[in-house]
Every structure is written in C-alpha cells, then in structure tokens.
C-alpha cells in the first residue's frame, strides 16, 4: 500500500483526457481512411475507362477542420494519354 501512497498526488483525470485524445484521433482517422480508400478505387475505375493510368499515381487525401472537409484528388496522367485526349 505504501507504494501506492507515493502516487496518491497523481490525478486520474489528466490521464483520461490524454488517453481519449490519442484514441479518438486514431479512430477518427481510421473511419475516414475507409472512405478515402473507397473513393480512391472508384475514381481510379472511372478514369481508367478513358485513359490509361497507373494505380499508384492516384492520390486521394481528406483534410478536415472545424467547418469544412476538403477532398484532394491528385491524378498523374501519362504524357501519351494526355496528348490523345487533346
């Protein structure tokens, strides 16, 4: 018991707060990454119908702040395909 008494001053609420902040940051990100991977696949499929693209050259990123979410899509199209389109 005396060992526990040494730590008596350490309060539990700050630990709760810290654990929650770490956990929720992780959980929120994983919910979003599900959405991002679905979007990535479907966007790739649509583009692949018309031009040849490398699966690794499609980047989908989701950013969230207090008011808006921004979906950033970055697709690198090979030179040949873009000339064909033009």
């Amino acid at each position: 018991m005396s060992l526990f008494n040494l730590f008596r001053k350490q309060r539990s609420a700050p630990m709760a707060r810290e654990r929650l902040q770490v956990l929720l940051a992780h959980e929120r990100a994983s919910v979003e990454s599900d959405l991002v991977s679905i979007l990535r696949e479907e966007i790739l499929a649509v583009i692949a119908k018309h031009v040849e693209v490398d699966a690794d050259k499609v980047k989908v990123k989701m950013d969230r702040d207090e008011h808006v979410s921004i979906l950033e899509i970055d697709v690198e199209i090979p030179l040949k395909a873009s000339q064909l389109a033009a």
Binding site: A16, L20, V31
Partner: protein
C-alpha cells in the same frame, strides 16, 4: 411544423431516458406541445420513468403495423396537459420498426406537436440510427468518463453521416448534455472537467446536469425530475437546457467554479 430532437449517446446508462423525460416535461411546462417517443423497442423504459407504465395499450410498433391509430397509442401525461408519450413495444423483433413506418409516424407527430423528442436506444445499431434518422437536432448525452466520451464521438460521426439532414448535405445541429457531473471530483482532478469533454467532442454545450439523488428519487416515483422537485439542482439544470433548446441564449454556469478553493478563501477574508 414541430422540431424533431433525438436524445442519443451510444453508451447505455448515461441518462438518455431520464433526460428525455426531464427535457420533455420542462418544454411542456412552458405550454408547448411535446411528445416523447420511446425508440427502445424490446427494452422500453420511458413509460416507467414517466410513470405511465400501467396506461400503455398500444405502442409505436402497433402504429407502424397499422394495428392502431396514432391518437390511440398516445398517452397524455396526468400532470401536464401538453405532454404526451408514445411508448415502445416490448416485442423482441426489432425488425418491426421499419424505416418507412418511422418516417410516417414522425411526419404525423410533427404536424401536431411543437417538439418530438426521440429517446434513442443504446448502441449504434439499427434502432439507434432509426431514432436519429429524421432529427432536426441532436442532444448527445455524455458522462464525464472515458467510455462514454468515446461512444459519444462515434455517435457524433453517425449523426453527421447517417441522418437525412446529413444525406441532404445540411449541417446537423448537435448539443452536448453532460450528465452525472460531480464538480468536487472534477476540481480534485479525479473526473474529466467540462472543458476537457468540450475540447474532445467539440460540439456546443447544452447543459450540465449535476450528479444528484433527486434523479433516482424521481424515477423511483415515476415522474420526470423537472416535475417532482422543480427547485432541485438537476431540475434547474434541465429547465435551463430546455430554454437553450428553445433558442434562448443563456450562458451555462459551470458547477463548482464559482466556489473554488481561492473563491472560498477570498470570500471568507472579505466577510
């Protein structure tokens, strides 16, 4: 057209039913027409907390299945003329609650009542998503405790994705109701503080309901706490929360902050 509110939390036992009853009675005591709807099919409890358990004849599922008309299932409160209850059924088959049926019932209730308050079941399953589906705004009931805060975060995510409002691209109005708050323990650092929970969940604060014996006493006798002892601390907090729901801009007093340690010392010196 009435406003539809869902009282939800994810976690069970944090005070959804108590809060539904207390807020409903508080709004009705202002003379507004209120119906509280129990969505907890299979484990109904709102009737018991409201003291109407022996007056239940028909329920939400009966109305959805066409076995009863809505007015037949509504129970008028014996203390307040403008307060009604639509009980849940005790049938075990939750599939009886269909999305179309719920939509029709809510649409009809909105025409007659100023406030339609939906008491959500715990969890994040179908019952909970049906309860929130048609809501105009949400009251997220949270205890200052890690598992409750985590579940509230999940529920906030669902409110922003699974509701009709969210699907239409509108913003779902969400309010935090912090229940079972013990100011002394928070002050000592043994309980999450109001600011901690607000910072983590980042939704506006509707009210803080202090931990109190009066809440249990009220459910023992089967009355919303706002009707049994309107002067008690939890009842006062619920009345204020109801006024904020109705759109009043009322600052939230954080319990215990005025009477902090320094406050005590200084007030004694000044005396």
């Amino acid at each position: 057209m009435g406003k539809v509110i869902v009282v939800t939390s994810g976690k069970g036992g944090v005070g959804k039913t108590t809060s539904t009853a207390a807020l409903g009675a508080a709004l009705a005591s202002r003379g507004e027409k209120v119906v509280v709807v129990d969505f907890d099919v299979g484990l109904r409890n709102l009737d018991l907390v409201m003291g109407a358990e022996r007056r239940v004849v028909y329920d939400l599922v009966n109305v959805i299945q066409g076995d009863a008309k809505l007015p037949q299932a509504l129970i008028r409160d014996k203390r307040l003329d403008t307060l009604f209850l639509l009980p849940a059924s005790q049938t075990r088959d939750k599939d009886n609650l269909t999305a179309e049926g719920v939509e029709l019932v809510i649409a009809e209730l909105k025409r007659y009542f100023d406030w339609v308050i939906c008491d959500s079941p715990a969890g994040i399953e179908r019952g909970a998503t049906l309860a929130m589906r048609h809501a105009d705004m949400a009251v997220v009931v949270t205890n200052p405790e890690v598992s409750s805060v985590r579940d509230s975060d999940r529920i906030i995510g669902l409110l922003d994705s699974k509701t009709l409002k969210a699907e239409r691209g509108e913003r779902m109005e969400k309010h935090l109701l912090l229940t079972r708050y013990d100011a002394a323990r928070a002050q000592r650092g043994d309980m999450l503080k109001v600011d901690d929970v607000l910072e983590i969940l980042s939704i506006p604060l509707l009210g803080i309901i202090p931990e109190s014996m009066d809440v249990l006493k009220a459910s023992n006798i089967g009355a919303p706490v706002t009707l049994t002892d309107a002067k008690s601390a939890p009842a006062q907090a619920y009345f204020e929360a109801a006024r904020r729901l109705a759109g009043e801009d009322l600052p939230v007093a954080i319990p215990g902050e005025k009477r902090g340690l320094f406050g005590k010392i200084f007030s004694r010196r000044a005396a």
